[in-house]
Point group: C2
C-alpha cells in the first residue's frame, strides 16, 4: 500500500509499543513467547504495516537459512525434471526455498554454482546427474564439494559416486541386467547397444549391466555404438549402427530419450518396431509414456530418489549410499509377434 517503504521490525515494535526483542519473539515464535496481549498488539501492528521480515537479515543474525540448492544438468530433460520435482516437493513440505540451476553439463558452472550456494549459506544441496570421469574436473569438483561440506551444509548426490557425501544410486547394473534377461526370455537374440558417453558412469553401468545380463543368457551383443546421452545422441547412434549394417534384432539404449531418438531414426528408415527391431530404454520417463509403440524400459522411482536425496542432504551425518531398485517394464516396443 505504501510506496517503497521498507517496513522494519523496529517500525512494528514502535507501533505496538514494545521493544524489537519482543516483536521478534512474537513474530518468529522462537524460544520465549510473550504475553498474549502483547502478541496481539505486535501481530496487529505487523500486518497493519504490511511487515515482511528481511530474510537476509534473519539469516545473518541466526547464521542459517532455509535455502537449499539443486543442481541439474538440464531442467528440460525430463529425467532431471522428475528428480528435481521430488526434491522440490520434499523441500516444500519442510518450508525450504529452492535454488535451482541448470549446469548445462558444464563442470565449471557446476563448481561456480556450488560456490554460490555456499556464499548463500544454503542449508543443503542436491546434485543430480552422472559425474563425468574426467580426472581434472573431478578433482576440482571434489575440492569444492569438500569446501561446501566444510561450511556445515548438507549435500546429497544422485547418480554420482566418489564424493564424500550422501549418495543416491539407482541400481543401474542390476536393472539393465534384468532387462537383458527379460528380453532374451522374450526371444530376442541379436542385440545392439546404444551406449552413452564412456565418461558417464551411469551410461557405463547400464551398458555393463546389460552385457552381464546377456551373458547370463549365454548371449553377447552384436554391436555397440556410442552417442550423446540425449535424444539426438540416440538418433545418431542408431543411424550409425544401421549404416554399419549390423545384423541386430533388438536395440537397447542406455536411457529413454536416446531410445526414443533411436525409434525416430528407425521410423525414418521405415524399420518397423517391434516387427523388425525391438527397442528398449531405461528410466521410464513419464512424459514418454505416450510414444508409440510403448517403450520397454526400466523404471526408476525418480521422484522418490529426489525426495530421499533432500532428506539425506538435510539430515547431514556420515556419508551413506542408498541404492534404489529398478524395475523392468515390458511394453510394445519389444513385443514378439
Amino acid at each position: 500500500m505504501n510506496l517503497r517503504a521498507p517496513v522494519t521490525l523496529l517500525d512494528v515494535a514502535q507501533r505496538a509499543g514494545v521493544s524489537v526483542a519482543t516483536a521478534s519473539r512474537v513474530l518468529n515464535g522462537g524460544d520465549r513467547v510473550p504475553r498474549p496481549e502483547l502478541q496481539e498488539r505486535v501481530r496487529a501492528a505487523a500486518d497493519a504495516l504490511g511487515y515482511t521480515p528481511n530474510a537476509q537479515a534473519q539469516a545473518l543474525a541466526k547464521s542459517s537459512t532455509n535455502v537449499v540448492g539443486i543442481l541439474v544438468h538440464d531442467i528440460e530433460d525430463p529425467y532431471f525434471a522428475a528428480i528435481a520435482n521430488g526434491v522440490m516437493r520434499a523441500a516444500d513440505e519442510r518450508n525450504l526455498l529452492v535454488m535451482l540451476a541448470s549446469t548445462f553439463r558444464d563442470a565449471e558452472r557446476e563448481i561456480a554454482y556450488l560456490a554460490s550456494l555456499r556464499a548463500q549459506r544454503a542449508r543443503a544441496a542436491v546434485m543430480i546427474g552422472s559425474r563425468r570421469t574426467d580426472a581434472e574436473s573431478l578433482a576440482r569438483t571434489a575440492s569444492e564439494v569438500g569446501s561446501f561440506l566444510n561450511s556445515g551444509a548438507g549435500l546429497a548426490l544422485v547418480s554420482q559416486s566418489g564424493m564424500p557425501a550422501h549418495t543416491i544410486e539407482p541400481d543401474n547394473r542390476a536393472g539393465a541386467a534384468e532387462l537383458a534377461r527379460s528380453l532374451a526370455g522374450l526371444g530376442w537374440r541379436k542385440f545392439g547397444i546404444l551406449g552413452g558417453p564412456e565418461a558417464l558412469a551411469t551410461a557405463r553401468d547400464r551398458r555393463d549391466g546389460f552385457l552381464a545380463g546377456l551373458a547370463d543368457s549365454g548371449l553377447e551383443p552384436v554391436a555397440v555404438e556410442y552417442g550423446d546421452f540425449t535424444r539426438d545422441g540416440g538418433y545418431a547412434a542408431a543411424e550409425e549402427l544401421l549404416d554399419r549394417g549390423a545384423d541386430v534384432d533388438c536395440l537397447f539404449a542406455v536411457n529413454d530419450v536416446m531410445a526414443v531418438g533411436a525409434m525416430s531414426a528407425l521410423r525414418a528408415r521405415g524399420i518397423d518396431v517391434p516387427g523388425r527391431l525391438g527397442v528398449a530404454g531405461f528410466d521410464d520417463i513419464a512424459t514418454l509414456r505416450d510414444v508409440w509403440p510403448g517403450l520397454t524400459t526400466v523404471r526408476l522411482p525418480l521422484e522418490q530418489m529426489g525426495r530421499r536425496a533432500l532428506e539425506l542432504a538435510i539430515e547431514g551425518g556420515e556419508p551413506s549410499v542408498e541404492t534404489f531398485k529398478a524395475e523392468v517394464v515390458l511394453r510394445e516396443s519389444t513385443a514378439r509377434a
Copy 2:
C-alpha cells in the same frame, strides 16, 4: 580445509594487514581500487583462508541481491520446463541466482512463495502459467503482486494478464485460428475440440481462436469437450467425446500434452491417426517431437519467451505487454491420405 571455521572478511583483512574497507574494495572490485600491491596481498590472504563472502551480509549491506525467482505450476510439465529454461539461461548470463518453485497449481502456494521472494529481497520474479479466473484468489494474488512490486522488485508474467506487471503473451488466439484455417485447408471438416479448464485464460483463448479460425472457413465445431490441462485430461476428454458418439474427423486439443493423451486414448480404441481421425495440439513441446504420428501443433518460442520475461522483470519500468507470435507446424497427425 579447516573444519567449520567461518572465515570472515575481517580475517582476510587482518591476514593481509589491511583494513576491512580495503579488503572489501579489493574483493568486490567496487568503485575505488586499492593499490596493486595491496590487492595482491588481500587476494592471497583470501584464498589462503578459503574466504567466501557471506551473500546474506552483502545483501543486507547493500540492500539488494542477485536472486531472481521463477514460479511455475509444475516443473515436470515440459511446457514450463522450456520457459523456465529460457529464464534460467538469461539469469545465468547475468550472473543471477534462480529460486524456482513449483506451485503445483495451488494459488495459496503461489502467493506464499511470492511472499518468500519478497522476504528474500529478490531482485525480480517471473511467474509462468495461466492465471485462473477465480475472482477471490485472483484478488489475493493481485494484492501480493502489488506488495511485491512495491518492494521495488521487478516482475514479469508469462501467459497471464490482468496484473500490473510486464506481461509476455503468446498469441494464442491468432495461432489457434491459423491452425484451424490450415486444418480446414487440408480438408478436415468435422472438428472436435478438447478444451482445458474454462477458468484458464490460455485454454479459453486457444479454443476461441480455433473457433474463430473455423468460422473464417465457414465451419463450426461438431463437439467440444473439456478436461484438465494435462495428459490425463486429454485422454479423458477424448474418451468422453468418443463415448458421446460425436461424429468428428479431427481433434484439436488446446495443448500438446492433452493432444498426446488424446492420441493414446484413440490408440487404445484402435482408431487410426490420421487415417480415421486427425489430431492437433498447441505448444510444440520438444520432448514430444518423437511421438508418432508426429503431432501437428502450433509452435511457441518458449525459451525466447522465458528469456524475454527475465529481461523485462529486471529492467522494471512501466508495465508492458509483449506478444509472441505462434506458428503452425503441420505434421503427420493431420496428414490427409
